[in-house]
Symmetry: C2
Subunit: 426 residues, 2 copies
């Protein structure tokens, strides 16, 4: 007996109306109950997760996928801790965006209010179920979650805990709903509810995001790819550059903010490229370098026989998101060529420059069109936690509504409030 | 020889990149040249408009439609003046949304940047061509305009003036492009360019907006209907209520912020309703009132035989956007019933309360879910100019990205800028 998707959305809208005006204290109490529930009900959640994992193994899913899917006591404690961290964040609802008294005496205020109903479409990690629910609730929203079929038992177990916490806190239980069917028809039905759903957030591979965009009639916040570049300008210290590039590429190669292409200014290359490449090879990276870089490196003292390898770049290596310890490397004339390369091959996610030159930094900041531009630091800082949001429901590379890491503020909209004393327009 | 829509969008994207970093002075110079061009080329523009008007008359278009379409010297001077007013507005690009130094010393700034490429879909008024182009350019965006077929000659003449001003200012001429074909296939092609178009703004009747929403793969800012309510609470002075209601309903009944339904608290009705109704009837309104209101008015001293008329409301009159001097009238128990009525029948546009009670005003502000909530003033203040934006490209009743009157800030997005001194995440 599953509810149909339209009814789920109607119920979500009604719940959103009911919780939009709940106080910060009331919302935090729900989140505290969810965190407690995750701990108290750990045996049931882990048992459900074991079923998912067993089914995934039977199906022959890749080990990396199974690792993403699997929960254990420690991971579940981490999920509960994340919910408590969200409770501790400031509530954006009620924040005043602007306030102005007009010449006729009207006081015009723009105030942050909850967005309404969010549809979250995601793949295997079950922690997203709790994170996204907590973020949505904290910002006063209702949420409908559609996770991957491989995590359905885990997600339903997490959903039951969340529902109990809502009910115990006298919140409408339909504030968080999990689709019990993971077929594409149900997802498409959800994405077409343009009168009831305010925003769809897809999180997963590019194919999922393209499917959601193609089929949605509701607004979609997109995050296609992170083809991140880092340009080393003339005059930047070689050892520091090596340290930053290694962090950007190798700290977590599968992350969307990991570096995919290193650009080095021709003037800087002889002094910085050998040190950077030595460090990357020592860290096990595969470097796909253009001819000029390879010629330069052959002449220089880069040690051979290290863990990584240095090969010739193919044209397709530029603009590629490797999501692996692989890096494209290219020498460019100067800042202009670096900017042109980023404009052509970048995906609007994270772009970085290392430079001692303030004018070059200023041009890079102004001219690069990306969600996040980084000067003299690692690309890996493009992350909600690192940028001060506390937690994120995703990163948006699309321009509309929000761009970059999506924290609580991204789950709100605003309302204009006009206070008068009998004014008419005439 | 018309360019195909995909090429138009590619050219718009290239133009958007090129103008995103132009200074406020450079952008204002373009707008000054456009305003001058509108004046200098008035004969050509008016001749093109005459052709459109003649064709519209042949086709038997309604007089109101022809009035919306027609330009004359005075109206054209008004269009030029509006462009100069937009030049005088502050430029939102470069504004700092937030700035924070993280514990690790990273300086994280969110800065306003142009949105990119805007698709404007609109009906007959040719002034929108100039207004929308000026707003898009001022915020550093490129725009593709698809006006109504009945205004094509006028729009192309305006487009030629804008193109000349762009070229004379060394801006890319493709920053403003007008679709030369007004068939639906071209519009749909434009609305599907999700990689190249950042936002579609439809402006026109509900059918047009629904068509755009249904067919778009790009984000759409929507403005369906303005079913605006005004609730008169107990204790509000009768004469002042009458003055505000008359302004809200009769100053411009065809506007989207005009009042469509008057709700009166049962406690207030005997003292305020006769005065309000007398004033509305004197102004020629047709009142469609519920039984309780009519019974009360029959007993009171409302003068008969005035210009307007008082009839029984049908159920369908509640929730209707009359866009005419017609008003639904209903007595409600109290604030709770008024809030429930607004939640059920409102369209999320403009909702007003007249009350001397601060607690009731606070509840109305907090609980009403609309783009604009008005306390003790006319609904007609929900307008970009009146709320301090200077000019608007439309009003959004959708929640995402923007809500309410869309001025320059609504045509921007933001970029995260991270400034470091060699930090790595580790």
């Amino acid at each position: 007996m599953t509810k149909d998707v339209h009814q789920i959305c109607l119920d979500a809208r009604a719940a959103a109306r009911a919780i939009a005006t709940r106080t910060t204290g009331e919302k935090n109490a729900v989140l505290a109950r969810i965190a407690e529930g995750l701990e108290k009900n750990a045996p049931q959640i882990l048992a459900a997760n074991e079923k998912d994992v067993a089914r995934a193994k039977e199906k022959g899913l890749a080990a990396a996928m199974i690792d993403r899917l699997a929960l254990d006591t420690k991971r579940l404690a981490g999920v509960a801790a994340a919910v408590r961290e969200i409770a501790a964040l400031p509530d954006p609802v009620g924040d005043i965006v602007s306030k102005e008294t007009r010449p006729n005496g009207l006081v015009v205020t723009r105030v942050r209010v909850p967005l309404g109903v969010i549809a979250m479409i995601y793949e295997s990690r079950p922690n997203v179920t709790a994170d996204a629910s907590a973020l949505a609730l904290k910002a006063g929203n209702a949420i409908v979650l559609r996770g991957g079929s491989e995590a359905l038992a885990s997600n339903l177990a997490l959903g039951a805990v969340i529902r109990d916490a809502l009910v115990a806190s006298r919140f409408p239980e339909n504030a968080v709903q999990i689709l019990e069917t993971t077929d594409r028809e149900a997802m498409v039905a959800l994405l077409r509810e343009s009168e009831l759903v305010d925003l769809a957030i897809p999180r997963g591979g590019e194919a999922l995001i393209r499917f959601v965009t193609e089929n949605a009639r509701v607004p979609v916040v997109q995050h296609y790819r992170g083809v991140c570049h880092l340009y080393v300008d003339a005059g930047f210290a070689a050892e520091e550059a090596a340290r930053i590039v290694v962090d950007s590429k190798l700290a977590r190669p599968s992350a969307c903010n990991a570096l995919e292409c290193l650009l080095v200014s021709r003037a800087a290359a002889p002094s910085v490229l050998p040190a950077i490449v030595t460090a990357l090879l020592a860290g096990g990276a595969e470097l796909r370098a253009d001819e000029e870089s390879r010629t330069l490196l052959e002449k220089s003292a880069v040690p051979r026989g290290q863990h990584g390898k240095l090969v010739a770049a193919a044209q397709g290596d530029f603009g590629q998101e490797f999501l692996a310890p692989i890096l494209a490397v290219k020498i460019v004339n100067d800042l202009d060529e670096a900017l042109a390369h980023v404009a052509r091959y970048g995906s609007g996610h994270t772009e970085a420059i290392l430079t001692p030159n303030a004018a070059h930094a200023a041009r890079f900041r102004a001219e690069v069109d990306a969600a996040c531009v980084v000067v003299n630091a690692s690309t890996r800082f493009h992350d909600g936690g690192e940028l001060g949001l506390g937690a994120e429901i995703g990163i948006a590379t699309s321009r509309l509504h929000w761009r970059g890491p999506m924290g609580l503020e991204s789950l709100t909209t605003m309302k204009w409030v006009v206070d008068g004393e009998g004014q008419v327009r005439g």
